[in-house]
Symmetry: C2
Subunit: 287 residues, 2 copies
């Protein structure tokens, strides 16, 4: 079974001892309620390092008012079992008070890349993500940290932060894990009612439409965006937050697809707000 | 002579090697133009650690528009000699472009403690300080970092940041080094014209007045502040930015001096804006 560390100082001391012993640490930060997508990040970490640490922490500072912090799904015992099965050495499992004690007041902001896409409807989200990752990196002291490409903007924000703040670790992005029908795995899929499930597929299928247009030579972002929007809007229970095509580094909207670009979308399907994305030119395994 | 590292990656690699070899690193960040105050910080570091690293970097992000970034005094050759004389092992001496390359966009903000005192007239100053210290700590990987108590608010901001972001290092505060006549040492004293020098003494002498009132039992902050303001304002060439009495941890203004409190002041004397402070109950060596 994986060892459980609940105390910041205990985890940090363990990490420092591992480093001094010459061990390589891989780290997968999570909010728990693990699914196959998380487990694939852990398998990648397991392959890369001597010690694999994950964190399970539903981070309050990345949820805005009215978002699903309170209701975010949690099941630590199941998480512990799944993590142990894929070979996690240590689960860092702090409580919110130890991470944000009274008087807490320090935040890390990654400015431009946090503004577009999800940053528009979730204005403090990426500040919360950057801050908690800084804290977790300082506690876990990883040589590499592994993130899913499903949260594309998060990956860009973290990479930018690590570079800008000279953090001495490598950020590794891992391809999105999908259900057999193409739905990107997400803890929030558990919110979907049975009758909404088919509508949720409109996200990944919308990306496939974008890919097909691109592969046939379309480079006008507005044409692709319109096709994807129309397709998704044609499904019941869907409420589109955004469909955008952006430069993969700056996350600024592009009109013509020239450099490396990503089509990213966020759609409320019944209760959950789901996200997905596709980088043009890459493979996309959707039936 | 001290070794000079100009490259972030080179410095970071050296620091990691030192840590892996079990060496203890002390770090003194400076903006150069070293004086006896800086050298006392370095002597403290020399006593505490196996390896003493200093940085010399006039950090653009902590200067506001119209402040003295361009004109800040610089003399690297003299700094190198002085640092070597007190036993500095490595001088980290980066250029601004390597610290803030194009596309740079990440900032660390320590909110409440940055707002009062110098934060009022220098609104982005402590964001710049917190950000560059985060970067320097990530590059130099010190076990302890040594700061002067002359920059009292800076010390509070950095301590709060280190605690909040779980940075694994100790912040050490060292007493202010003063000229024989009591003037707190500062690189900016070099801006003083000869006829302003006596007026500059009104800062430290004002603190002495505050101490004497406190020692005689005065606990009403407004009474002490008025006495100090009147004394300083009675000197030519002085323009008071603030005289305040604050809680030493929160830096919030106090009306009655009960918990640990500091009287802090900022005064423009001719060209330079000078600062000084005194924590009630501590010794104060001013003639």
């Amino acid at each position: 079974m994986a060892e459980i560390a609940r105390d910041n100082k205990q985890m940090q001391k363990l990490a420092e001892e591992l480093r001094l012993a010459g061990k390589r640490i891989a780290f997968v930060p999570t909010m728990g309620y693990l699914h196959e997508g998380h487990l694939n990040l852990m398998r990648e970490g397991r392959r890369r390092a001597d010690n694999l640490v994950i964190s399970i922490f539903v981070n309050p500072t990345q949820f805005g008012p009215g978002e699903d912090f309170e209701k975010y799904p949690r099941d630590f015992e199941r998480d512990e079992r799944l993590a142990s099965e894929v070979g996690v050495d240590t689960i860092f499992y702090p409580d919110a008070t130890s991470m944000y004690p009274p008087g807490y007041q320090t935040y890390v902001t990654v400015e431009e890349v946090s503004r577009n896409l999800c940053g528009r409807s979730r204005p403090i989200h990426f500040r919360g993500v950057a801050t908690v990752c800084t804290k977790l990196f300082n506690i876990v002291k990883p040589h590499e940290a592994i993130f899913g490409k499903k949260d594309f903007q998060q990956l860009v924000v973290i990479k930018r932060m690590v570079k800008d703040l000279n953090m001495d670790l490598e950020i590794v992005g891992v391809n999105t894990t999908r259900e057999a029908d193409g739905l990107a795995m997400s803890s929030r899929n558990s919110y979907l009612e049975p009758e909404e499930r088919n509508s949720a597929l409109s996200l990944s299928r919308g990306l496939k439409i974008a890919k097909e247009l691109y592969d046939r030579g379309e480079r006008d972002a507005s044409v692709i965006i319109k096709a994807v929007r129309d397709f998704i809007a044609g499904h019941e229970h869907t409420d589109i937050d955004y469909v955008k095509i952006c430069d993969t580094e700056t996350l600024k909207d592009v009109e013509k697809i020239e450099g490396e670009s990503v089509v990213a979308l966020a759609v409320r399907v019944g209760r959950p707000r789901l996200i997905d994305n596709y980088v043009f030119g890459e493979p996309l395994d959707i039936p």
